[in-house]
Amino acid sequence: MDSSGRFVARHVATLPKSGIRDFFAIVSKMKDAVSLGIGEPDFVTPYHIREAAISSLEKGRTSYTDNRGTQQFREEISRYVAKNYGPEYDPETEILGTIGVSEALDILLRATLNPGDKVLYHEPCYVSYAPSVTLCHAEAIPIRTVSADQFALDPAALRAAWQPGCKLLVLNFPTNPTGGTADRAKLEAIAKFAIEKDLLVASDEIYSELTFEGDHVSIASLPGMRERTVFLHGFSKAFAMTGFRIGYACGPAAVIDGMLKVHQYGIMCAPIMSQEAAVEALRNGRDSMLHMRDKYRERRDFIVRRFNELGLRCHLPRGAFYAFPDITSTGMDSMTFAQKLLEQQKVAMVPGTAFGAAGAGFCRASFSTSYEKIHEAGERIARFLDTIPRR
């Protein structure tokens, strides 16, 4: 019998596994399942970007790089961020290349949190935020966002959730899993509050290029925010580069320097071929990105209309590639709905509760998949709904 569990740290042993993993285990064994559960682009990385990685390998560029990433990589990031988001960052001291936003957020938490510090974040949200905070022996404090508000963060809810000891606010707009965005007015109110309470802000803007309505505004561009915001971004979503595992953080020098310490001991550097592919994406990836964004928007319009036709109320997500329909009219909770739908019609959607308690009553459906699959999923969901009494 394996008794090695006694070696596992208490805060890790008590950490729940991601609810998504259980689903993945079931779906992966199921034949003919239609999955709306895939949280990554269904496009292959654009050819010219893959070519840059191949060329890097052909030239024998297989070494470590500077811990922060190559000079060229950081300079391109600096240009891209200034052009598209506003703030200017010094490639020498204010930019750090990472293994995706996942690492960037992890090392930001580890570099800034003392045990017992409190972190505010809006829910439903990406699965790693609260566990990553817990792993730093800090306390994660969720702020509920709601469908009526298109899952934008209400500044009043932020104020109500705040308590002494809060040090950091994590934002993610557009949001996985809701597609929620925050307009300039909301962000200004949030910024004002962050300044008032002296909060550091971690802004995960991984889906920012995939904004379908209105312009994306980065909180880092608002007055007084550059010095208290760490802008986190990567290439996985906009440029369909999930497998490259490449991202970056931009922020005030002292915080980036702290992150660099954690990064250099834990990671050393991001893979050089991924950095070189990322440089190509920053320089020449815009057309490919816009093409993919248009495809996502078309699929979004279809899937949202379909859910509403089926009587599963669904707001129009303004960004990212997830629909987040309300399934409460079925009388089931999110997990029951997702499990029964999977068992009876072999359609995989992720229960909203996998993204926090505020996701109760919803399921996430990725529209980063083909029309054929979305159409087929719609037919199967219709059949499933026919079998249950509706409220």
């Binding site: 993945f24 992966s28 399942a33 895939i38 699965v127 790693s128 995989a348 029309y371 159409h375």
Partner: protein, 160 residues
């Protein structure tokens, strides 16, 4: 671009009812759109894209470069239209460069292609010379990678 056209060009296997549902139009409206596109000469037709390895058990395909002389025979168009009218000819293009027409033909076997070249093409007034190349193996056809199996096989079916 016309939304129906855009969707069929994406290459997904969708019937008109599915296209109608996706675009919120209804199947009849899609049929009307398609009919209008045909009438305008935008849409010439729709055919399945077959895997060439299946096709090659029954057919051979060749590309023929043709040099032509235009004096006294009605110019390029006259000859190109004449060549296009043969049923063996799948496509026919006027080209820049070292030859004038590029013709793709299919036939039951190699001998039938050879017969087509010397009994039909070579006899057309104005055809000065031909160069025939047979297709050996296809790697990509009409935008589809022929052996695309497994390119995403490690992608998890559910991910955060």
């Amino acid at each position: 671009m016309n939304s129906v056209l855009k969707l069929i060009l994406d290459g997904e296997a969708l019937d008109t009812a599915q296209i109608g549902k996706i675009l919120g139009l209804g199947a009849e409206a899609v049929d009307r759109e398609l009919a209008a596109l045909r009438k305008q000469g935008v849409l010439l037709g729709m055919r399945p894209v077959l895997n060439p390895s299946y096709e090659s058990e029954h057919r051979v395909r060749a590309v023929i470069e043709i040099k032509i002389r235009t004096e006294g025979v009605g110019g390029f168009d006259g000859i190109a239209e004449r060549i296009s009218s043969f049923e063996q000819v799948e496509s026919c293009y006027l080209m820049s460069g070292g030859y004038d027409l590029l013709v793709v033909v299919t036939a039951d076997n190699l001998y039938k292609v050879a017969g087509f070249v010397h009994e039909r093409l070579a006899r057309i007034d104005g055809v000065q010379g031909t160069s025939t190349h047979f297709f050996l193996r296809a790697y990509k056809k009409d935008g589809f990678i022929v052996n695309a199996e497994g390119s995403r096989r490690d992608q998890p079916s559910v991910s955060p």
